[in-house]
Symmetry: C2
Subunit: 218 residues, 2 copies
DNA sequence: TATGCTTCGTGTACTTTCTACACTAAGCAG
DNA sequence: CTGCTTAGTGTAGAAAGTACACGAAGCATA
């Protein structure tokens, strides 16, 4: 491998912005750092890329280890590599964002003794400083998510397999932080042809039952 | 820096997809590799990230070294890091794409004894195999460029400071590989308000002179 | 100086998409 | 049976996008 040895190598990590919807809000999973630097600060989950695993595999592995979820929507975001972003040395971070649906959002219990919590993204209370440049990464991820749901159908990834149109609309309103017109919304998503009407309805105990839909895969 | 040492580190490179318009075609700059692996194959210009320079700086430096241009449009594309993409070992590549305008597209002469050439992107003749996974990177860059010019104004980055609307239209046609309606195109770009009509015209020697425009910075 | 050639530059009618907006239907509780 | 709450539906106007043809300007040359 001769020629590669001429260059000092940076460390490479993956960092994950894991979103979910809960309590009528967009949430991101953060873990509290147990060691320096930024000890006791909240940070995005992440870790070093193993020498023989792909970046995507590393991201999926961290997702499993830190959030206890598997096979969810996962997409590479951006690579942050300014010297000085980590006081320990040169660390380049390949960031990913993941969407976890309401069904699986149980955080892996604190078996790893990691202190993990979902934080509301838009709660000004939570614009506390994150470790490293993670605030920048999070902001970028939110920007990307907002764009994405306007042009694609990733919104469904945040809902259980069966959902009502009102629930889907609420997801859009939460992410975009603005009200959405009910009739136009339904017209638009149905026209996309990506969701299938089911014969079941959801009776949430009160009022008129809502028809259930499911995402039409592929 | 203790804790970083526990993990073997990959090498990190930046690879550049440098586009320009020349000879009525979209071109990409490739360099012929002088060493193994892929000796004598054509490859995207790129190189290792120095331990104390940012990724963007590394990309700008390579752009200067290999294409001899500076201060052009430069944007991070995607990070490719599959194990095995480089036979020498684990190499993670952060790819960038750059747009070089017609004014500056002189390739730095072969002072570095590098053999560099512009290749037509859509010429099937040139779908020869590139080194490493560079074909994949190039394809992704083309896809991104096509999306980008439809929603933004980066098209101007490929033209000299003063240009005619016909020239701009031709850039779009070349990139999208389809004809564009003249009147609708003019309506659209003028409505964007990003270009300013100049008082000069271009007399290319024959026929009716065309009005010149320039890009309205910021 | 008239004719032909080539590129420049412009407007309108039609279609599609987006936006705003209000009432009836279904089920439950009392 | 009445009242409350959420589900579900259509239409008219505005805006954006698409298709399409001809006169104007300059040059060449007969």
């Amino acid at each position: 491998m001769g020629s590669l040895d001429k260059f000092p190598r940076p460390s490479v990590t993956v960092d994950l912005v894991i979103f979910t919807i809960a309590d009528d809000a967009l949430k991101v999973l953060l873990i509290r750092r147990g060691a320096e630097p930024y000890k006791d600060c909240w940070a995005l989950p992440g870790g070093f890329v193993e020498i023989d695993e792909s970046l995507e595999d590393a991201a999926a592995r961290e997702l499993q280890e830190e959030a206890g979820v598997t096979s969810v929507y996962l997409e590479q975001l951006y690579t942050f590599g300014d010297p000085g972003r980590d006081p320990r040395g040169r660390v380049i971070s390949v960031s990913y964002f993941a969407l976890v649906d309401a069904d699986r959002q149980r955080i892996r219990a604190a078996t790893d003794a990691i202190d993990a919590r979902w934080f509301s993204v838009f709660d000004p209370e939570n614009s506390r400083k994150l470790a490293f440049d993670h605030k920048k990464i999070l902001d970028y991820a939110v920007w990307r998510l907002r764009n994405k749901i306007e042009w694609t159908t990733v919104g469904y990834e945040l809902l259980p397999r069966k959902f009502t149109l009102s629930e889907l609309q609420r997801v859009y309103e939460i992410i975009l932080q603005k009200p959405v017109d009910k009739r136009n919304f339904r017209k638009k998503v149905l026209a996309q042809g990506k969701i299938r009407e089911l014969s079941e309805t959801r009776k949430d105990g009160a009022h008129r039952p809502a028809r259930l839909y499911s995402f039409r895969k592929k």
